[in-house]
Symmetry: C2
Subunit: 195 residues, 2 copies
């Protein structure tokens, strides 16, 4: 549940931390990522909004905590986008594959994909999170008038890559070395974003 | 259940047609697409293999009947692959999108994706069908030494396109006109296959 990966996060002994996480699960489940607010989560948990921020930081931090994926696209993706422009496609592919090679990311990531795809209700929180924290950030880094479509095309190939490698496990994709996929799929993302 | 789309298919009044379909559902469910045989399905249904062929044609026909998708990639994909080489990517995207715009294809296709992704057990029949009838045919039309990887990369983008447009419904993809996606994603498939 709780981790020690971000320093400076105090440990509540009062149970309010656990109440906040439980409230967040309910709030994200009912209203999706976009509809959920820190204020509403705090109200459900019977605590002040400031305490939620104090324990968990931003809404993205709290969602990552709730779904349990130790992955921070809201931090990492802007770093990639700020890097060498001609390597954005390859760096995005490498980033997501290296993350999913970590068992604790892959296990929960595959679970989230299965749950989100298996149920209409559950797809909304994941789609909201991806749209805001991944696709939205990629779109914001592109000044083309069709930035939203470009960023969503990137998402379509990333979703397909994760689906075929880790969920459906098509052998040619599942067994390919990371750098093989980086060199094959990287140019696709590069073209969607920059061509 | 039964349709009249292929002429010359006799209608059994004896119930053997229904028994064959039920046996096929069990057989595909237990052994997947590759593992299932017409012989085993016939044995389950208590009929002769020839009767299965007589009613349903090939294993691909029978699987299409079982999953209820009025779509024949085993016929249509080779036609596309035999067409103009420089248009294969765009023609594949247009083919799959035009198919999924038909409500009876989309409804069952989305159902199959949800079921296949939601359960490890159920993903095997769909993966087998796709591998044999779609990916395998695309690979066979490519004489590159890495034909299998190329065809699976095509599948990864197609799966991602269907997932983001019809299952997750990312607005920029879900609302895009077919020809917009043909012109954006077609070159990706073209590059995976022919570059």
């Amino acid at each position: 549940m709780s981790t020690t990966r971000r320093p400076g996060r105090p440990r509540g002994a009062s149970g309010s931390r656990e109440r906040i996480v439980a409230a967040a699960v309910d709030e994200f489940g009912e209203h999706g990522y976009d509809g959920a607010t820190i204020r509403a989560i705090a109200a459900r948990a019977g605590v002040d909004s400031a305490l939620v921020h104090h324990y968990f930081g931003t809404k993205a931090d709290l969602f990552a905590e709730v779904i349990g994926i130790p992955l921070r696209p809201d931090v990492d993706v802007p770093t990639i986008l700020a890097g060498p422009r001609e390597q954005i496609g390859e760096n995005l592919v490498r980033y997501i594959l290296e993350a999913f090679e970590r068992p604790e990311v892959r296990r929960r990531g595959v679970m989230m994909i299965r749950v989100a795809v298996g149920s209409k209700l559950m797809s909304q929180p994941l789609v909201g999170f991806l749209s805001r924290e991944l696709i939205g950030r990629i779109a914001a880094a592109t000044d083309a008038p069709d930035a939203a479509l470009r960023a969503n095309l990137v998402a379509s190939q990333m979703v397909g890559m994760l689906m075929t490698r880790y969920v459906l496990k098509l052998p040619a994709i599942a067994d390919a070395p990371i750098e093989e996929l980086v060199s094959r799929i990287g140019p696709t993302l590069q073209r969607y974003l920059c061509a």
